[in-house]
């Protein structure tokens, strides 16, 4: 039972990080119709920047955290201005390719500057277990979970109640209509990238806190894919819920399949079986729009 609960909680925490990254993914997709393949790299670079700021300047973590968010904002604006704005009107597939290119560039920069070795993240959140009665959980997990939750609530409120949030929803509902009514698309696109980069940065910092920092952290970009598809590419709520589902699935199947088969490493594979299954039976995901391909 403890084993199960341990896996479950672990899954929920990792899943909440997935949720947040998936939210970034969906946001860009909804606003710009582009699948951003550089999502994982945004997350990775966020973690490196945070680490660098803390280690080299000796700033407290919180200062490093917010510096990272500022950096992510500027990075997103730069990507939008230098690459994506120039591609406005280009076929979506070309823009998708460009995001792959952006990902490669970011990863190369990280390798160039920081190398490929694993770097331990300074202990920010206490690692001691917290006794929850039935099971003991490392505090870093709890911090990560609540931080994710906080960010998702903030952005949820942003979409629901602010002008800009509503404008973004209008654009995702009908880009043509929104533009013809006076919504500046370019600014909405930039905003989508900024928010997406910020949540990725936060996700990267949390993931690095839990599992250490290597350029492999960018694999989160791919690992979050099953969650995005399960939720339906264009559903923010779907992404949030599916992130947790996939995190739990990954951990439970990892934990139990290892005992069962003696093979470790099955955990990360399981979500992709789900991915394939979903694409078979319900390509629009749990919460996606029905006419996802219609223009």
């Amino acid at each position: 039972m403890d084993y199960f609960l341990g896996l479950l909680i672990n899954g929920i925490v990792v899943g909440s990080i997935y949720s947040m990254i998936a939210l970034g993914f969906v946001l860009i997709y909804k606003a710009t119709e582009v699948v951003n393949f550089a999502q994982g790299e945004l997350l990775m670079i966020g973690a490196y920047i945070c680490l660098e700021v803390i280690v080299t300047t000796g700033m407290p973590f919180l200062a490093g955290f917010f510096t990272t968010l500022v950096f992510m904002t500027l990075l997103a604006l730069a990507i939008e201005k230098l690459v994506l704005r120039r591609m406005m009107g280009a076929p979506v597939m070309s823009v998708v390719m460009a995001t792959i290119g952006i990902g490669i560039v970011l990863r190369s920069v990280v390798l160039l500057v920081w190398g490929a070795t694993n770097r331990p993240f300074p202990t920010v959140f206490p690692r001691e277990g917290l006794d929850l009665g039935v099971v003991t959980v490392s505090q870093v997990y709890l911090y990560a979970f609540f931080l994710c939750l906080t960010f998702m609530v903030i952005f949820g409120a942003f979409f629901q109640y602010t002008r800009w949030g509503l404008t973004m929803r209008a654009v995702s509902s009908s880009r043509k209509a929104a533009e013809s009514l006076g919504v500046p698309l370019v600014r909405v696109f930039a905003l989508a990238w900024v928010i997406s980069a910020i949540v990725s940065g936060v996700g990267g910092i949390l993931a690095a806190n839990i599992s250490g920092l290597t350029p492999d952290l960018s694999a989160y970009g791919v690992r979050v894919f099953p969650a995005v598809i399960l939720g339906g590419l264009d559903s923010i709520i779907g992404a949030t819920i599916s992130g947790v589902i996939i995190g739990v699935l990954e951990n439970l199947s990892g934990g139990y399949l290892r005992n069962l088969t003696g093979l470790s490493g099955l955990g990360p594979v399981a979500p992709f079986f789900v991915l394939i299954l979903i694409l078979w039976v319900r390509p629009t995901g749990l919460f996606g729009r029905k006419e996802i391909d219609k223009l």
Binding site: W164, L166, T167, K176
Partner: protein
């Protein structure tokens, strides 16, 4: 009337899509306060002209509206300049109600959110302003005969009613120039006649200049002050409706007739 100054001037517009010449040196002057129809066979470049005016395409040539160089303006600036449009393939916020969609037309002139707001989906802030906008939206849908559909989500409505919602939304933006891309598609004859009546009313009473793309020759005859005929991206005729319909080139291209 014949001395009216053009409010909209398209000069030598040319546009290519790959190897296809969508527009070839098309010049059209739209006189203020008129209803100006653009007709022509499918693929003649009618919608392309509208899309150039609304900034979705960037053609060669010049477009002047009300003293402004439109080609230097971004698409989202059109409503502020006084240009509203409807779309051939309908662009509505499908999940939202008819009234919310129509109110979205006033988004650009909400004081509290020029170029920003999307106040129309909330109940917050600027109540008074929003209430007035709502009244205006109700008036618009009533004029278009869909007053009882206000609370329905637009995705539920038949094509013709969705077209009406688009027109209502354009009206609420209080344009000087209204661009209508086949607003009567999917309607029967009596519906078309009703809508033509509305367009004429907007034109006469609110002094809105209208550029309309329409296939129904009967409708075009009845409402147009001026007709421009396009074929294969070129202007082949222009003038009053009766005069244009008699033009042999037009009969040949548009009506598919050989020389009479």
């Amino acid at each position: 009337m014949s001395s009216s100054v053009p409010i909209l001037e398209l000069a030598e517009l040319s546009l290519r899509f790959g190897g296809i010449k969508a527009l070839q040196a098309v010049s059209i002057g739209v006189a203020a306060g008129r209803i100006h129809s653009i007709i022509g066979p499918n693929g003649a470049g009618k919608s392309t002209v509208l899309n150039c005016i609304s900034g979705m395409y960037r053609p060669q040539g010049a477009i002047r509206f009300d003293g402004q160089d439109l080609l230097r303006r971004r698409p989202h600036e059109r409503p502020l300049l006084g240009i509203a449009r409807t779309f051939q393939n309908i662009a509505l916020f499908r999940e939202e109600s008819v009234l919310d969609n129509v109110m979205a037309g006033g988004h650009h002139r909400l004081k509290s959110g020029i170029l920003r707001g999307a106040l129309y989906w909330t109940r917050f802030g600027c109540r008074e302003e929003e209430r007035r906008l709502r009244d205006e939206a109700v008036e618009a849908i009533e004029l278009l005969g869909i007053g009882e559909l206000g609370e329905r989500p637009v995705s539920d409505l038949p094509f013709g009613d969705q077209k009406r919602v688009e027109l209502a939304r354009a009206m609420v933006s209080r344009p000087k120039l209204l661009l209508l891309d086949e607003p009567m598609a999917g309607m029967n004859d009596s519906e078309k006649a009703e809508l033509a009546q509305v367009v004429r009313k907007l034109n006469r009473e609110k002094h809105i200049t209208v550029v309309i793309i329409e296939h129904d020759v009967g409708v075009v005859r009845r409402i147009s002050d001026t007709v421009t005929v396009l074929d294969f991206g070129k202007k082949i005729a222009e003038g009053g409706p009766e005069e244009v319909m008699k033009d042999p080139a037009v009969r040949k291209a548009y009506l598919g007739e050989e020389e009479p």
